[in-house]
Amino acid sequence: MAYKIISSQCTACSACEPECPNNAIREKDGTYIIKPEKCTECIGYFDDPQCVAVCPVENTCVIDNAYPRYQAAV
């Protein structure tokens, strides 16, 4: 149920942090991380996941397969 940031590719530009509607993103050790339990893949907020849309490096904010896809509450 979450996106993750591939830290080796992250430029730490911080663009994703204020865009996240769930405040799930923060800086840690010179890179940015997404708190998986807070991430809703932007479902219910926006058409596109904001961290993916704003990230300047392709394929850096990606689905974290360690978690099941987010299901919006019905």
């Binding site: 430029t11 926006f46 849309a53 704003v54």
Partner: protein, 519 residues
């Protein structure tokens, strides 16, 4: 073609404010907007010229807004704004290494608090530092909180420092009021096109209203927001410089149109810069083999725009954390660790005393130039030559050939000496290795020049320069540049007249890749 109102879901404000207002404001700034009456003397010219006292007051100590000031005054950038809302094909934010120097790259990011401390530390160490700019490494207005917090802190602790920012313009209309509130009176917008058909080849995407928008629609939004932002700045009385990256085959011819568009909206100064596109930078243009312009291609475009408005030619395309005079970078002296350990005392009285000394020197220089220029009065010739000058500041020929990290280029004619650009060169004196290659590099960079003015030069490079058709001149060591150049030119014309030498057109020259950084 889609019209503005057809852009889906995007409210677009109409752009055209009354032309009369723009004309009025532009005239107030010293540049008429009506066709054909453009004055080449506004903006970055040597002295006050016909600028209003109010405008002169704003630009006279700003190294980026006044060519003359850049010999004397320093600037610094603080890298508080890492995020960006536009992807440009000439930019790669991922690349970062110590030897890298171009816009968009920095060694370390700062918080607004660290930035404010850094500004005080630099201002105390470099009394001629008069300008603080926020230029990224992303876009300052994509990080509005950090940017304005920084301005707020600095305007409290060092109120004599001028504030400026450099933006891609996408978010600019939303922030003009705040910019005005913080007394930021210089704003630079990077405008590479006013035609979305062209823009789609420069900008792959933008982040706009929570969406990634690509292609021609992205370019259309960019150009509308940029021009609206420019008009709003003009109406608010904020001086605006426009930067354009010259990309041969994509926007080179179009930049004449951009020049007209920004001039008519009250831009104060236009800075056309060469594309930086080395493959190792990993940018789209670097990887697809897009070349940058040659020195003469760049100069020809700048010359063709100059009848319209004043052109900036002294830009060093510096990093978003540069410190010092344009053409030098002292940022390594002011890393966060060093700043935090510094005991900073901000002494505005001693800064002022230093700056008064600089003013005196500027006046002496201007007087010397006028005197020399009088000697040329009555002379008329179509001959124009370029000369390269080794200088480390203060408007004097005061650098050894072998120590020059760049050469400033002046065009000499019976109209006088005009600064037309600079050429970055690798350090020639690097402790004994690769010297011949380094000399070749310098010759390629100043190959369009007839002479090179230096404070001193060794016998070996002297002979090599002569063989390449470039005359090494050390007769004017430590003298003022313009005065010396005019004196040299007068002698040159006399020699041509007497048949002692033949005037020959020189060839083209290379523009070194990468922004300037002092090694």
């Amino acid at each position: 073609m889609q019209t503005r109102s057809e852009i889906k879901g995007i409210p677009v404000q109409e752009l055209k404010p009354p032309e009369a207002l723009m004309q009025q404001i532009a005239e107030h700034k010293g540049c008429g907007t009506s066709g054909g009456s453009g004055k080449a003397s506004c903006g970055s010219a040597a002295g006050q010229g016909d600028l209003s006292p109010e405008i002169w007051e704003k630009v006279k100590n700003h190294p980026c807004y006044s060519e003359e000031a850049h010999h004397h005054y320093a600037r610094m950038h603080v890298a508080v704004a890492p995020a960006c809302n536009i992807q440009c094909n000439y930019c790669n934010r991922k690349y970062d290494c110590a030897n890298e120097s171009r816009p968009g790259v920095v060694s370390e990011k700062l918080t607004p608090e660290q930035a404010a401390k850094k500004v005080l530390a630099v201002a105390s160490t470099i009394p001629q530092m008069t300008v603080l700019g926020i230029a990224g490494p992303g876009d300052p207005l994509a990080n509005p909180e950090k940017t304005f917090k920084t301005f707020e802190l600095i305007s409290k602790t060092a109120p004599d420092i001028k504030l400026c920012l450099s933006t891609n313009g996408l978010a600019l209309p939303d922030h003009v009021e705040t910019i005005k509130k913080f007394n930021v009176d210089h704003v630079t917008i990077t405008i590479n096109m006013v035609d979305p058909e062209i823009g789609q080849h420069i900008y792959p995407w933008i982040f706009w209203k929570h969406k990634r928008i690509t292609g021609i629609e992205a370019a259309r939004i960019i150009t509308e927001r940029q021009l609206l932002g420019l008009e709003m700045l003009t109406a608010a009385g904020i001086l605006c410089k426009v930067n354009s990256v010259m990309i041969p085959g994509i926007n080179d011819k179009h930049l004449v149109e951009v020049n007209r568009a920004v001039k008519s909206r009250g831009a104060f100064l236009h800075n056309i810069m060469p594309l930086i596109s080395a493959p190792e930078h990993g940018t789209v243009f670097g990887l697809n083999g897009q070349r940058g312009p040659s020195a003469q291609e760049l100069k020809a475009l700048q010359d063709s725009c100059e009848g319209e408005m004043n052109m900036m030619r002294h830009c060093r395309q510096c990093r978003a954390d540069a410190v010092g005079l344009l053409g030098e970078d002292r940022s390594a002296e002011f890393t966060t660790d060093k700043i935090m350990a510094m005991d900073v005392r901000y002494d505005s009285a001693s800064r002022q005393a230093y700056q008064e000394k600089v003013e005196q020197e500027r006046q002496d220089k201007a007087a010397a130039k006028q005197e020399e220029l009088a000697q040329l009065a009555g002379e008329h010739s179509d001959i124009k030559v370029l000369v390269a000058v080794a200088t480390k500041g203060s408007g004097r020929i005061n650098e050894h050939f072998g120590h020059a990290k760049e050469f400033q280029i002046y065009e000499l004619s019976t109209a006088g000496a005009k600064f037309v650009g600079h050429r970055r060169v690798d350090l020639y004196c690097q402790g004994g290795y690769g010297e011949e290659d380094a000399l070749d590099t310098i010759i390629r960079a100043i190959n369009d020049c007839t002479a090179v003015f230096v404070a001193k030069i060794g016998g070996c490079p002297r002979d090599t320069l002569k063989a390449a058709g470039i005359e090494p001149v050390d007769d004017y060591a430590h003298e003022f540049i313009e005065q010396s150049a005019i004196a040299y030119f007068k002698g040159y014309l006399d020699k041509v007249k007497s048949g002692e030498i033949m005037h020959q057109q020189r060839g083209d020259a290379d523009i070194r890749q990468g922004a300037f950084v002092a090694a």
